[in-house]
Symmetry: C2
């Protein structure tokens, strides 16, 4: 959730069930981002859309994903003679695409290419620069509201009547940091990703294997947790969330240890967990 | 399961999860029957097929369903660049179709049309006539093995050497009854179904609504439990299993009572329940 907007990234089978179990109302979701068309990342989408339809959703839903996704959805809607009662705004993500795919007053959603066996997209959700904070006690008494707005936006104000310049730095404090979350689902280790996720506060990066399986990771276009940590370190992110673990690891501590040997702020993601990003 | 063959009828989202919870190995399934293309009856199919692929299934899987289903599956396999490593034998069920769709040495699977808002198929799984039971003590000492087989199949034997007729009824008892299971997923009340499911030992028939909602049932091409019971009675089945209950009924006893007022051998089906059909 950002700015009261719920964003769902990827939607494997039974996502509806997990949302319910974690008390998240599906109707609140405004954006669904699908990284790629392997089943564990989207087989739950058509069920979720159908439920939103049955529950009478009214508001528009933005869906971003590989172009083929639209045909897959439409053929299933057609087969059940369903015409969605809400607007589904599909934004195709072309192979290799990078840039902004959604712009809100206060944040953007960007995509960038990952390196997987099929076309795969990473996502960056980033707050826009925030306004400077007014120091109320310092404000001149006769200052106009519009001048305060100007200074909050980091510009100085020239008062023609009094022939005075109000320097914004004298009346405001620097803005809060703009926070960001980067999501790298299935991908081989690829330093080319680093430039897209520089300084993200939180990075989710897949870590399917431990270090001894590095060859298998490369072969299957997945990463080891150590490689995920290297990406995190090189991008200078705040915190790394590991995930997409191979079922061979009953005990995940080896993945965590190997990641932390490279990047201390590494953590294991867990189903149903809430991670807050704070300034 | 019939004759050691597992048959899965319909496959909603999270079917994989339910199979696991009920300790049924998906690899054992030989036939999947999809009644119609409303999501609650097939959205879990692509996930199940993908898992069978990943788990290395080798044996052929027979899939029966509306023709559009093949395109829906293939477009999803194509999008993930997946070529199934097992043979998926798809048998399209055309609208209005009735007849045998699979024939085993000991049983058949038949389909017949239901009456729903989109094309929908019922199924009848039926044992073939069984062999008569030999009365060992009565057999003449010099009788040949092939003559025993002939009598088990209900035919008399003529012994040319001795110029004797062995009447099969003197040496065999009638065979065990051939058991059958009829499955009527989503359908409006339709007496036209009765002829296809005559004398089935077990009938599953949807019963979405209680009697006071009969109009809504007809409008949405569903049935009340009383209507399901009327079908069961007219078809002279052994036992009726109700199911597909509207979520409005927190307490299902009203559905059971109303069904039993028409057909005593009515029962509520429950998730994960095993129902045996015995002679």
């Amino acid at each position: 959730m950002i700015q009261e907007q719920y964003i769902l990234i990827d939607c494997g089978e039974c996502t509806q069930l997990l949302l319910k179990r974690n008390h998240i109302k599906p109707g609140k979701i405004r954006h669904i981002l699908i990284s790629h068309l392997h089943g564990d990342h989207y087989f739950g989408l058509i069920g979720l859309l159908s439920s939103l339809h049955l529950y009478g959703r009214k508001s528009k839903l933005n869906l971003y994903g590989p172009p083929e996704l639209l045909n897959i959805i439409n053929s299933q809607l057609k087969a059940s003679a369903t015409k969605l009662i809400f607007e589904l705004n599909f934004v195709p993500l072309d192979p290799g695409m990078h840039g902004t795919i959604f712009e809100h007053d206060n944040f953007t959603i960007q995509t960038f290419p990952l390196n997987h066996s099929i076309t795969c997209h990473g996502f960056l959700i980033k707050e826009k620069p925030k306004q400077r904070k007014i120091i109320k006690d310092q404000l001149p008494e006769n200052i106009r509201l519009q001048d305060i707005v100007t200074m909050k936006n980091g510009q100085n104000v020239y008062d023609e009547n009094d022939n005075i310049i109000y320097h914004h730095k004298d009346y405001t404090l620097p803005p809060k940091r703009s926070l960001s979350y980067a999501y790298c689902s299935d991908t081989a280790y690829d330093p080319g990703i680093v430039k897209y996720i520089k300084s993200a506060d939180l990075l989710y990066h897949e870590s399917t294997f431990a270090t001894d399986m590095a060859k298998r990771a490369a072969l299957t276009y997945h990463s080891t947790s150590e490689e995920a940590a290297r990406i995190a370190k090189d991008a200078g992110v705040g915190k790394l969330l590991l995930g997409h673990y191979s079922t061979r690891y009953k005990d995940l501590s080896i993945l965590l240890e190997q990641a932390r040997s490279v990047f201390k702020e590494s953590y294991l993601s867990q189903e149903g967990e809430t991670v807050e990003i704070n300034d």
